[in-house]
């Protein structure tokens, strides 16, 4: 073997091993992140965490009950507002859309998907908060605006995957178009659609930036949905950036709980999808 060939072979072996290293590094990042969070946070995730309100720095026994409830409230608002709209838009794009209008909507949905969430927050601030005040509703609206284009595109994606012959089979039996869609096409695509929805909700539940100017945060229970409301992501942010060690501890705990919830939803969604899409090819 010539020297040049030996060099080429060595280089090949080296570069390919390097790619393996890159892959291992990438995957281990996930476990590293989980590990660091668990290490720093698990001691603070106790009964108090889930049931008590935050205490001033230095006082032990505080928790983030208001943030957990607040997050759930805001996410629920966003889900109620965003999922049906996104779903219907996706149905339109896949089943009814003409050429130009559907193209326009698709383009705008992709555009919205790419807008930084903080800009969405500013938008909701100018439209809602300026006229009313900081509230859970505003936070919910901001998150809904993020959820709608995601849901629309993923619903469309899974509905178009349903073979045309299934639609024709329903129509040939005398079903009207909307009936065929509701009783055959949507059930055929429901796994993918559900997955897309779960992933979307998981995504918005971790978002902080849109809440910065809409629902703000709250150290107490607050006055209901039309008042500024605590949320887990905001708590993580405010507690991590504060100068108290005690609050840093709480930030780790909140971060751990938040990450746990988000990852759980993601894993569940992906497992649902991998069980198979309910249509035989």
């Amino acid at each position: 073997m010539t020297l040049r060939n030996r060099w080429r072979k060595t280089l090949s072996y080296f570069m390919l091993s390097l790619t393996g290293v890159c892959a291992v590094v990438a995957v281990s990042l996930l476990f590293l992140i989980l590990g660091i969070l668990v290490y720093n946070g698990w001691r603070s995730v106790d009964w108090n965490f889930f049931t008590k309100l935050p205490k001033p720095p230095g006082e032990p026994g505080g928790g983030m009950a208001n943030a957990i409830v607040g997050s759930l409230e805001i996410i629920l608002l966003a889900t109620i507002m965003g999922l049906p709209v996104g779903f219907m838009a996706g149905v339109y794009l896949s089943e009814f859309g003409g050429k130009t209008f559907a193209f326009l909507i698709r383009y705008m949905a992709d555009l919205l998907n790419g807008v930084p969430s903080i800009v969405i927050g500013i938008f909701v601030w100018t439209v809602v908060v300026r006229r009313f005040h900081f509230s859970a509703y505003a936070g919910g609206i901001a998150l809904a605006l993020i959820l709608i284009p995601i849901t629309a595109r993923s619903t469309e994606q899974f509905m178009t995957m349903v073979p045309q012959t299934l639609r024709e089979g329903a129509l040939a039996l005398g079903a009207s178009k909307w009936r065929a869609i509701a009783t055959v096409v949507v059930p055929a695509a429901y796994r993918g659609i559900a997955t897309g929805m779960i992933l979307g909700v998981a995504r918005i539940s971790g978002e902080t930036a849109p809440l910065l100017f809409t629902s703000l945060n709250n150290q107490f229970w607050g006055g209901g949905l039309s008042d500024q409301t605590a949320s887990l992501p905001m708590m993580v942010y405010t507690h991590a950036t504060a100068p108290y060690d005690d609050w840093h501890r709480q930030a780790w705990a909140a971060g751990l709980v938040l990450l746990f919830g988000v990852l759980l939803a993601n894993i569940a969604a992906r497992l649902i999808l991998s069980r198979g899409i309910a249509v035989q090819k």
Binding site: L166, G169, A170, L171, L173, G174, A175, S176, T183
Partner: protein, 273 residues
């Protein structure tokens, strides 16, 4: 029969397909095409088709790939409308009534279709057969109607113990018979079959051909097939399509033994297609 009348009927009163609701047995003109032209956008796929389908007979449409026979079949129950940018010129008459004047969902209850590749819904066997009944507002006893359809499709014995299993658990041939049962459930007067056996093995094919014989007493059947032997076996009348035109249409015996057109003879003897 109006949609309202149908919806208030009980099991006993589903009309039998032919004699009550249309032409007497064997009479010409159950389903007629008159100067039918069909366009995909600017492309003309069917040229001036005029065809008379007799009641309670099996009519086969043959021809090489792309000759327009499937396209023609799909205009008969207006399922061609699901594709954008298509245009129909001329008339299609069901019992002398223009199908464009009839509500399309009602038309499709009277003219059923079975597709080339079986397309059962992702539901149970029972729900598949019941689907057309539910959608058309059937008020009678569903289980009886489903059993009756599955018997007509010669599938009942094989599935009676697993009606609530998924339709996808069946074999290819069984799935196609399920689709036939599903189409029969709404008691159509006409049944259109688009190459129903092309994806099936010879045994399954034979079962379905036998089925068609038993069905033609209750139903008018139009079958598209690229298998000439199949047409020769089952059909009373045969139409030969080529390049979007109906070249010749006559009794099966004449088409296969003494065709009058050269193109027909070339196709029959295997010179092309």
């Amino acid at each position: 029969m109006s949609p309202n009348e149908y919806m208030t009927m009980g099991t006993a009163n589903l009309p039998s397909a032919s004699s009550a609701a249309g032409k007497p047995v064997g009479q010409q003109g159950k389903l007629k095409a008159v100067n039918l032209n069909f366009y995909y956008g600017a492309y003309q796929a069917l040229h001036n088709i005029s065809l008379d389908v007799p009641a309670n007979r099996i009519t086969a449409l043959i021809g090489p790939s792309g000759c327009g026979k499937s396209t023609f079949l799909r205009t008969l129950n207006r399922i061609s409308e699901t594709i954008r940018n298509t245009r129909v010129e001329g008339e299609i008459l069901l019992d002398d009534e223009n199908v464009m004047n009839v509500d399309v969902t009602l038309l499709r209850r009277r003219v059923g279709m079975v597709f080339q590749k079986s397309n059962p819904f992702p539901k149970s066997i029972f729900d598949n057969v019941a689907y057309g009944l539910k959608v058309n507002g059937f008020r009678g006893r569903l289980a009886e109607a489903v059993e009756k359809s599955l018997k007509r499709a010669a599938l009942w014995e094989e599935v009676k113990d697993k009606l609530h299993k998924s339709a996808y658990a069946l074999s290819g041939g069984q799935q196609q018979r399920l689709c036939i049962a599903r189409a029969l459930a709404v008691d159509p007067e006409v049944l259109l079959l688009d190459e129903p056996c092309s994806a099936l093995d010879p045994i399954a094919t034979a079962k379905i051909e036998d089925l068609l014989f038993t069905l033609k007493d209750q139903c008018t059947i139009v079958i598209v097939t690229h298998n000439m032997q199949q047409a020769a076996r089952v059909a009373d009348r045969t139409g030969f399509f080529l390049l979007g035109k109906l070249i010749e249409y006559n009794t099966t015996e004449i088409i296969f033994k003494t065709p009058t057109r050269q193109e027909t003879e070339d196709y029959i003897t295997g010179r092309f297609g």
